[in-house]
Amino acid sequence: MTDTPHAAPPSGIVILGPPRSGTTLLRRILDAHPRIASPPETYLLSAAARFLHEERFASGLRIGVLSGLAFAGFGEGEVLERLRGFVLGFLDDHARARGKPRWAEKTAFDAFHLEAIARLCEGHVRFVCIQRHGLDVVCSLAELVDKTGGYVHELHEYLRRDPEPLMALARAWVDTAERVADLVERDPLAIDLRYEALVRTPAAVVRTLLEHLDEPWDDELLARAMTEPGELGFGDWKTYGRASIDATSVDRWKGLPSATVSRLAALCNPTLVRLGYAAVEVGEDVSDEDARHRYAMGLRLQQLGAGKPR
């Protein structure tokens, strides 16, 4: 009898999370590791997801490249393997060029394409998943839109369905956070991180992550991650302006008006609780009279200014 060798766990790493959840920070940290190369956003996986895009007709027939090539004699496994080799090959080459044995891929909006990415990569990469409080994600996405002056393609469908941008962004968070949580539940190789823990206790979280990835920790890693310039490319511009990790972006949602918080909370609470966050209080409905009273008092308060009656 001969021992059957255990397959080595995959070495490639894919960072996934709803956009604005700390994925770029994770990328910078992993890229500073002497054995991991993590390039700026490549869009490789979302491009592969578009290649695999298909539509299911009422008869159950899937219209797309996999079905099309199946009729031409190419099985799904072979097509996925070829595509995987093509896509991940760029990352292999990039890591090799930097003299590192492993790579980590992160592109901000990949979570919107998670089904196709999982179909292509599950079992062939290590998913590093990160989640952040949904209301903070909404605040950060709204800020991104303000700064960039537009919505990325992945958000368009949400904006068509909901005329209120913050609610549309919250729905996008719920969808992507739930998809990432589903992946964590079914993939034993995936690790599940929280942004708040990462920025409050970065050394502890990164140690846990590296242990999961079978990579050594070193005491200079975080300092290197935040001070080395790294490669320029697509990614969160804010993180490039930071030289240390801090928790100043936690609980930004508390600055939103109560009525907005209540509406966002009603939508996000089930997902927040699933992810281990406390449910956000949903305010009681107010009568028309109470609403007018609040409004009038708010106006009077503005008149009073900083405690000085006008």
Partner: protein
């Protein structure tokens, strides 16, 4: 529910990111910018629910510190003779 310095702090902490632990009971809140007008109106609603009485515009100026908020509520909750 009794309105205490602790309950006022807990309410305000749920509405603002400001570290209220660093704010003294007599420190100004609204006039110093620790809380904004939205939080002030939320605080007003909170106090109206606790006391069962409507607040008037001039009352708002008596709510500028944890200490003054608690004192204000005590006067509102004082039993009538």
């Amino acid at each position: 529910m009794a309105v205490t310095p602790q309950s006022v702090r807990e309410f305000l902490a749920s509405k603002t990111r400001y570290a209220l632990d660093e704010v003294g009971d007599d420190a100004p809140l609204f006039s110093s910018g620790v809380i904004d007008s939205f939080v002030m109106i939320d605080l007003m609603t909170f106090l109206e629910r606790q006391t069962g009485a409507r607040l008037a515009p001039e009352d708002l100026m008596e709510l500028d510190s944890v200490q003054s908020i608690v004192a204000f509520v005590a006067t509102r909750q004082r039993p009538k003779r």
